[in-house]
């Protein structure tokens, strides 16, 4: 059972922020989700790097401003 990149990102976000996966929409961001503070963002980066076996550059980390952009960044690194 292979999950799509958006589903995997959504599950990681849900685990890190402690919110239900179905509450995370396309444009979920630190502005729309109260739990998504700067500390949680660091945890999120670490969890995503482990989940996908990747390492984000500083620029990429700055671009990961909402759910959709995170998915795009991951897909870009994976070359998908």
């Amino acid at each position: 059972m292979t999950q799509s990149v958006p589903d995997r990102v959504r599950n990681v976000l849900s685990a890190v922020l402690g919110v239900p996966a179905d509450s995370i929409g396309e444009f979920a961001s630190p502005q729309t989700l109260e739990a998504w503070d700067s500390l949680k963002h660091m945890n999120l980066v670490l969890a995503l790097e482990e989940e996908f076996g990747v390492s984000f550059s500083d620029e990429q980390m700055l671009e990961m401003l909402n759910f959709k952009l995170i998915v795009a960044t991951v897909q870009e690194i994976l070359g998908a």
Partner: protein, 582 residues
């Protein structure tokens, strides 16, 4: 060994576990001079998984000294004091700093360490990480000033630490993970967060035994299967002369090593036993042989028969007077290991790895379950005591009535009042006693010493001996003063199961009441606080004819006017004490 969850999986599992926890929270405060916020969930998960309902609080970043002064009622404190951040960039500035400034900085940190140790002396358990330079200096051949600073500061903590402080050797954690994977340079330079999630995962496992011990969950007994667990081969099939368990034999070296490791635990007070499906005579032939390291005199209990292992383990727990959750069972068979896990989920099961060369390492990992902060003289003699017990049990059968038997034992109780020499044993009794324990309050050595030196409490520890031998210090009662002299509270009363059923508790209580009355006490308050294990003392105070003043399902409160009553002494037990009377 548990499977390794990814960070996201662990966060999700931790959230689920958190919803299921109940009972009084175990409060842990984390103080640090760097960012360690990922540690929160690793610590929570590690302890929740071990049934500790942990409540973790983080102090303000880089404020260890001030935070330690306002720590409140934490049960435990963990201190991450990172050398590289004692001043910004110390990992490189240490080399170029003016020597006087360098020395005065060390002096300042020593002073801070003293203040933190002082502030935290009332906390039961304080884990302070040793200063480490590995993350920055791992490839250096020559020692530099950064290393020098770590050594001096570690020496300083070592010289100042009280019994409540445990210095955690972070280098071992880093070695387990690797330096490269422990250090997160990206977040160190951007956010002062030097440790990786792998580091925290390993650190939480490394420190877990300490928390288990502090919450009274140390394992007490280690029970081995025999064939292919203590030796290579099946004695019933291969014959005693063809099994292997020495370093000289082809496949025996790992078994000799495990037997020695087990014997080492036995010498520290862990009870050892055998539980094997075999003919008794076959196994006994090996046990009596000179190659067998564990030897009969080190084995507190043996079940060599064809009964099912869960039933045998249950009987062993009863004979040793310990709970099943205090037992660790080692077996090579998938069937037996699974069966015991299913039938007795409280028992920790270590399965012998399929690759035998992994066995000593896996066994060493499991040895953390027996972590004990203090080893006392009583531990060292424990196996001998259980063997004496067996002799007593035999004597019991030859006496007509229990009372005749008890009379024949010539029991003596010696009470130690506020005795600083036995602080480790008193602390250990509070940590390890579960069954005969009226309030089940756990105290560290630091707590006990505080009570004696500064407190409003009086501590009565008692030794028991009889004609068969010495039990050592087996009971403790802590009396807390109320306002004024005339009313006191029994804060704790507990007794090791080794002396149950001999009326020692009644004899001691008679002594205690007389002692307190002579000291001007007229009223005694007491409580029974229910736990999953102390049902046997639920009516202890009723038996002593205390008056019930309030009762809820989990707690009963009592009061007893002792100005007039005298407890009838148990005439066949002699009681003496070491109290200095005015």
């Amino acid at each position: 060994m548990s499977e390794k969850l990814s960070y996201a999986q662990l966060l999700a599992a931790n959230g689920e576990l958190g919803k299921k926890m109940s009972g009084a929270p175990y409060k842990v405060s984390v103080l640090s001079n760097v960012m360690v916020n990922q540690f929160l969930e690793f610590l929570q998960y590690s302890l929740r998984r071990r049934a500790i309902n942990v409540d973790v609080k983080f102090g303000n970043y880089d404020n260890i000294v001030m935070e330690s002064a306002t720590i409140g009622d934490a049960n435990a404190v963990v201190v991450f004091w990172e050398l590289a951040n004692i001043v910004d960039g110390f990992q490189y500035k240490s080399e170029t700093m003016d020597p006087e400034l360098f020395e005065s900085l060390l002096e300042k940190v020593r002073g801070e360490i003293d203040r933190v140790i002082e502030s935290l002396q009332g906390v039961s358990l304080v884990i302070i990480n040793k200063f480490s330079t590995l993350m920055f200096n791992h490839s250096f051949i020559l020692q530099n000033r950064f290393d020098y600073a770590a050594e001096r500061l570690n020496e300083h903590i070592e010289s100042r630490k009280g019994p409540n402080i445990l210095l955690a050797d972070v280098d071992r954690v880093i070695a387990g993970v690797s330096v490269e994977k422990s250090f997160n340079p990206r977040f160190f330079y951007s956010s002062k967060a030097p440790y990786s999630i792998e580091f925290f995962r390993e650190y939480s496992e490394y420190t877990a035994p300490v928390f288990l011990a502090s919450t009274g969950r140390t394992k007490k007994a280690l029970v081995f299967d025999c064939d292919n667990t203590l030796w290579k081969g099946i004695v019933g099939e291969d014959g005693a002369s063809n099994i292997q368990m020495t370093a000289h034999s082809k496949d025996g070296a790992v078994f000799e090593e495990v037997q020695h490791l087990a014997l080492g635990l036995g010498k520290k007070g862990v009870l050892l036993g055998l539980c094997s499906k075999n003919n008794f005579e076959d196994v006994q032939e090996i046990v009596a042989g000179k190659e067998f390291v564990l030897k009969d005199e080190n084995l507190a209990v043996k079940k060599i028969n064809w009964n099912d292992k869960a039933a045998n383990l249950r009987e062993m727990a009863a004979e040793l007077n310990i709970g099943l959750d205090s037992m660790v069972f080692v077996d090579d068979s998938d069937f037996e290991a699974e069966y015991v896990r299913e039938a007795l989920p409280e028992v920790a099961v270590l399965q012998v790895p399929k690759e035998k060369y992994s066995y000593p390492g896996a066994f060493r990992d499991g040895m953390g379950l027996f972590f004990n902060r203090t080893i006392t003289a009583e531990d060292l003699n424990k196996t001998e005591k259980y063997r004496q017990n067996a002799a007593r049990e035999q004597a019991k059968n030859s006496h007509a009535s229990l009372e005749d038997y008890l009379r024949s034992l010539e029991m003596k109780i010696k009470v130690h009042v506020n005795d600083e020499k036995i602080v480790p044993r008193m602390s250990q009794l509070t940590q390890k006693t579960n069954q005969f324990n009226l309030t089940t309050k756990r105290y560290t050595e630091g707590d006990i010493l505080n009570f004696i030196r500064h407190g409003d409490r009086r501590l009565f520890a008692f030794e028991v001996a009889d004609k068969f031998g010495d039990y050592g210090i087996v009971g403790l009662c802590i009396i807390q003063n109320q306002n004024g002299k005339s009313s006191v509270v029994v804060d704790s009363f507990l007794m090791s199961c080794r002396v149950l059923g001999r009326n020692v508790e009644y004899s001691f209580f008679g002594y205690l009441v007389n002692y307190l009355r002579n000291a001007g006490v007229t009223s005694l308050q007491a409580a029974y606080v229910k736990t999953p294990k102390n049902g046997q003392v639920a009516n202890f105070y009723e038996q002593l004819e205390f008056d019930l003043s309030s009762a809820s399902p989990d707690r009963k409160e009592y009061v007893k006017n002792i100005s007039a009553t005298s407890f009838k002494p148990v005439d066949y037990i002699e009681v003496v004490d070491d109290a200095v009377r005015a």
